[in-house]
Symmetry: D2
Subunit: 108 residues, 4 copies
């Protein structure tokens, strides 16, 4: 997925807002990746379906924790930046993006 938001990229040594949390974020994502591989092994080994469902819930919970972390950063930084700049249209757009993202999370 190509991002259209080039301005948010780390360019010219500029750091992105979640730069400081990158190590923690990646660690969580690798852990979730490991859980998904574990679920594949459970299916391969004919494990009990309820145990597999429990693992799926754990992975989903992990993904939502990452999502909430990103959302908090988005509101604190991307939305705030636009609001402080006083660009009402851009600020409204950012808030709309944030609540649309929450709507997508709620509907999954």
């Amino acid at each position: 997925m190509a991002s259209e938001h080039e301005g948010h990229r780390a360019e010219d040594g500029q750091t992105y807002w979640y730069h400081g949390d990158k190590v923690a974020l990646q660690r969580r994502l690798r852990r979730i990746e490991g859980q998904i591989r574990g679920i594949q092994r459970m299916v391969e080994d004919d494990e009990y379906c309820i145990d597999i469902l429990t693992q799926i819930s754990a992975s989903t919970k992990g993904l939502q924790a990452v999502a909430l972390n990103l959302l908090e950063g988005h509101i604190s930084h991307c939305v705030a930046e636009a609001q402080v700049k006083g660009d009402a249209e851009e600020a409204d757009g950012k808030v709309k993006e944030a609540t649309d993202a929450v709507a997508r999370l709620l509907r999954t």
Copy 2:
């Protein structure tokens, strides 16, 4: 996670209920694993947080589709088996397990 439900394991050539769907299930899980790795790359490349949230919603939706598939099989086979056998206590236990699993999915 060790399963305590050995009776559900494929033993003596006996096939497990989702045996026939295993190929499809594993394909979906590998696809989700690929999505999680894609999210790691997005974080690595400082992609826009909203785009990452969209990918997280897609992965969560994929996991829930797998969960619904397993749940359908569980009710059709594990629950039905106990109910047809006429073992009311075991049947009630299986139904409780299923709804508890749904509760966990809803709370994530």
Copy 3:
């Protein structure tokens, strides 16, 4: 909403599966109705939006508890009845209805 499942209606004195739980179910639903009216009062009184969101979460949780209760009964009774009768097609239909209902709950 007109039900097409007349066979499930209490006719000729026949009781429906959740008959015994009706008092408890109605009490919970009236409690949720009261919460929704409470939210209207909060909006009327210009209460803080986060406090209103907390009440909305509580009402949603209440509705999901009712849903899980109905789902458990549906699997224990409607699905089981079809499975014990040995009508595979009807049983599969009932299971499909149950998982479709779970899918709708997850997507809200």
Copy 4:
């Protein structure tokens, strides 16, 4: 539930951020209240459980739409106000409140 956020109350003729949307918000909440009463009638009339579950999903969806509306207003107004004022601590607190509210919505 007593709000501790008196500053958000409409006092001295000051209007609250969702003041303009109050009519629409209350209309939606009354509609949801009507749906909950409809569910009570369905239980009373021994309607089919799957039909009741469908109505519960519709009510939950209605509540989430109200929640997203309130969340959007909260970020646009309460969070923005603190950020523009330059009070970093208060702004962070407001963002935290918002994401905590989203977490509660996701967990229900």
